[in-house]
């Protein structure tokens, strides 16, 4: 089990690293799209390559981040019923979900999409649009993204089994401690609310 937990930590670090790097593609997509729109209006020219790179980037963002999103427990659940169960039952639900929902889906998608990506690579396929981009990298994103998801699912599985054995703390806690909303609230309290209270105090006759 110790070896497995080590493996799980390694996987978590990898997903974390990939997630942090892929996040920059969001900014890239925003800037390229805005630039493309501005250039299209100003000079009335556009290239399919710029249009295509946008969705290439977006596809890369959501597929490559799948493992990271799972690490961060951000794939939403309907916990109307399961929220009432004990922690152990909830962890069992996760284990069943990971083993029988996620992994078969991951296997199916990789099994079906990998041949397409390989064929596209071998045939050196290009987009059918004039000036379009080479196709195989975006085809390859699909099996790659699901592979990362599957690897992370294995790590989550290890953590949950270890939890049931009492080896690790609760893995269903969100790791970063604070949610984005809590951070926003803290930020506003520090900056905005304090400044306004002060103004009100000063203005008080």
């Amino acid at each position: 089990m110790a070896t497995l937990l080590q493996l799980s930590r390694l996987i978590d670090r990898m997903s974390e690293l990939i997630g942090k790097s892929v996040a920059w593609l969001v900014l890239a997509a925003v800037l390229i799209s805005a630039l493309n729109a501005a250039v299209r209006k100003a000079f009335n020219t556009s290239s399919n390559a710029y249009l295509e790179i946008q969705w290439y980037l977006f596809a890369a963002v959501f597929l490559l981040a799948a493992g990271y999103t799972m690490l961060r427990q951000e794939h939403v659940k309907i916990d109307v019923i399961s929220g009432r169960f004990t922690k152990r039952t909830q962890v069992w639900i996760d284990i069943i979900g990971l083993a029988f929902f996620v992994l078969p889906l991951v296997y199916t998608v990789i099994h079906l999409s990998l041949p397409l990506a390989i064929r596209s690579y071998v045939m050196n396929e290009y987009s059918s649009n004039a000036g379009g981009l080479i196709r195989w990298p975006v085809f390859a994103l699909l099996p790659l993204g699901f592979l990362l998801l599957g690897i992370q699912a294995i790590s989550e599985l290890i953590k949950r089994i270890a939890f049931l054995k009492g080896l690790v703390p609760d893995p269903t806690q969100k790791p970063q401690g604070k949610t984005a909303e809590e951070e926003l609230a803290d930020f506003l309290k520090q900056k905005e609310v304090a400044a306004r209270d002060e103004a009100a105090l000063r203005a008080k006759p």
Binding site: L63, E74, V76, I96, T108, V138
Partner: protein, 588 residues
């Protein structure tokens, strides 16, 4: 036994879906697993073709190529940057001080600012948190009824769901196979009417129960002249001048200018004049404008500029919604830099949150695609259609049942889940019944807005709870003890607004004209999608007509029926012609 299963595969699959979802594992994977499970069983039993799942990668590639969905990360990113820029807080502060001294004024300010934030940031959580931190303490300080105060804040925050550019409209447009621009245009008037209904409610309350919404004492104003005057006169003059300029400008436009263009451009001129006057006044130190007039102008400029940059360009047809989102996000970045609010931490956080949101949303879509692949193979959509078309009352009966269904489901599901699971099932039926899908989408969006306000799971209530005072505290300004806000007060506060929401749904059904529909649009044929559909169609259908693929929004490949509304037979031709004229005008 096997025959029974074979004959009733669709209802069995549907009930299993509910079981899978309630099981409590991630929605995206539960959907996918349910589809996969029945796909394998179906193939084994010989109910589905061997090659059924072969279509799956192509469907997912279709999702990856979807230009509409690209708008999701752009608008999310824009909202996340804006929520830290201080724009919301400045607006709440200034507009609150402007309206505060009249009865119910603070509540009115919250609603107005909520609508303005909805048209820019579009993040319900951010709006509710800002209002809960800035406006709620002031309302409590001066003795507002707690239920009214919390209800107004939660409801105004949810306006982000209906006023464009909202994510739910993007997703509905994709799922219903209509253009995002049309849904945005359609949702504009209902969004304003809804804001108006909220305002009306506050006004009625402040007349009937003055003690629930007291006016602020004049000394609560921190923005005032040295003499102590409020400085409203010069604000009034400035407003009259800029409105007059806008109207004069509008009159000089050629007669054939489309109305939406006229409104957008004239508003820009009016706001521009006000801004120019304020800048000149400040630079030359003329002292003609009061502090209040100056503050109001300067806080209104950033949101209005963003609204023009995003919605203005989309409505004028200059930019696609995706481009509008990208420009808005860039604009938000520029603004955050200009206000020195941008740092590495914020950038990382915004990118991170955007990525996670895009990922979970798109994976729900992938999951629902897997499900719909199997569901179509067992003729599920036909089963749903028979179920819904056999309702008494035709169109109206269908609308009432669907709305009640969505209203009830909204207690448990959020709008992402509703849009990806329920809409693909009912969308095609609505189209068969001759319902205009743009109108239908706006109607559902108003209904789904309640999912944020339903006690006890509504997100808006949850965020408000997280920032509303949990314990009694001493107010810093008045040095008086202020009681905490109880969870019960927050829940009860939301109830009148949920009722307003239901009234609005009724209004849209009664007066379909509220939604300016996209009639007269030329049918656009997306070659890529059509080709993809041709490739996948023979594989996915076993008998029956090849149903449009709900998961991929491929119905965009079908020419939109010009007169699909049925009710507006008389002037359909007229609006069709107008539409063509307008489109022709817009072509460069």
């Amino acid at each position: 036994m096997m025959e029974f299963i074979g004959a009733n595969m669709a209802p069995i699959m549907f009930i299993s879906l509910i079981v899978f979802l309630l099981f409590g594992y991630s929605v995206a994977f539960s959907l996918g697993a349910c589809g996969l499970f029945f796909g394998v069983i179906g193939v084994e039993m010989g109910l589905m073709p061997q090659t059924l799942l072969q279509a799956l990668p192509l469907r997912i590639f279709g999702i990856m190529q979807n230009d509409t969905l690209l708008a999701i990360p752009f608008f999310t990113f824009m909202g996340l940057i804006l929520e830290r820029s201080g724009m919301a807080e400045d607006l709440l502060d200034t507009i609150g001080q402007l309206f505060g001294p009249i009865r119910g004024g603070l509540a009115i300010a919250v609603i107005l600012v909520g609508a303005m934030l909805a048209a820019t940031t579009g993040v319900v959580a951010a709006s509710v948190i800002s209002m809960g931190l800035i406006s709620l303490p002031i309302m409590l300080r001066y003795g507002y009824d707690r239920r009214l105060a919390s209800g107004v804040i939660a409801a105004s925050g949810t306006l982000a769901q209906i006023i464009p550019p909202s994510l739910v409209l993007i997703i509905l447009a994709d799922q219903l196979g209509r253009s995002v621009g049309d849904l945005y245009k359609g949702a504009f008037i209902p969004g304003f009417v809804l804001t108006g209904l909220y305002l009306l409610y506050v006004v009625i309350v402040s007349v009937l129960r003055p003690e629930w919404a007291p006016a602020l004492p004049p000394e609560a104003r921190t923005i005032r002249e040295d003499s102590g005057a409020a400085g409203l006169r010069s604000l009034g003059v400035l407003m009259v001048v800029s409105v007059a300029c806008a109207i004069v400008f509008a009159k000089t436009r050629p007669d054939n200018t489309p109305t939406d263009e006229l409104i957008v451009v004239s508003m820009c001129v009016g706001v521009g004049i006000a801004f120019l006057l304020s800048v000149v006044n400040k630079m030359l130190k003329l002292g003609l404008l009061s502090r209040m007039a100056e503050r109001v102008t300067f806080v209104l400029i950033p949101p209005l500029a963003l609204i023009f940059l995003v919605l203005g360009t989309i409505f004028l047809g200059v930019a696609t919604p995706t481009e509008g989102g990208a420009m808005g996000a860039t604009g938000a970045l520029v603004m955050a830099f200009a206000r020195r609010r941008m740092d590495m931490k914020l950038m990382r956080q915004a990118m991170d949150s955007t990525m996670k949101l895009s990922c979970f949303v798109l994976f729900i879509l992938i999951g629902s695609t897997v499900f719909s692949l199997s569901f179509q193979a067992v003729d599920g959509p036909i089963w749903v259609e028979h179920l819904l078309t056999s309702l008494p009352g035709g169109q109206l009966g269908f609308l009432i049942v669907v709305n009640i269904l969505i209203f009830l489901l909204a207690f448990f599901l959020d709008f992402f889940e509703l849009s990806f699971i329920v809409i693909p099932l009912i969308g095609p039926v609505a189209e068969k019944l001759g319902i205009d899908l743009v109108w239908f989408g706006v109607l559902l969006a108003v209904n789904m807005q309640t999912s944020f306000m339903h006690p006890p799971f509504g997100f808006a209530l949850f965020y408000l709870r997280s920032v509303a005072p949990m314990n009694d505290y001493d107010d810093k300004i008045t040095r008086k003890r202020v009681a905490k806000v109880t969870t019960g007060q927050i829940y009860w506060g939301a109830v009148p607004f949920v009722i307003i929401q239901i009234i609005m749904v009724g209004l849209i059904i009664a007066f379909p004209k509220l939604v300016s529909s996209g009639l007269g649009k030329e049918p656009t044929v997306d070659v890529d999608k059509a080709f993809q559909q041709m490739q996948t169609a023979p594989r996915q259908s076993t008998g029956g007509d090849p149903a449009p693929a709900p998961g991929s929004g491929a119905s965009g490949a079908q020419p939109a029926a010009p007169d699909s509304q049925g009710k507006s037979d008389d002037d359909a031709m007229k609006s069709l012609l107008e539409g063509f004229k307008r489109d022709a005008d817009k072509k460069p």
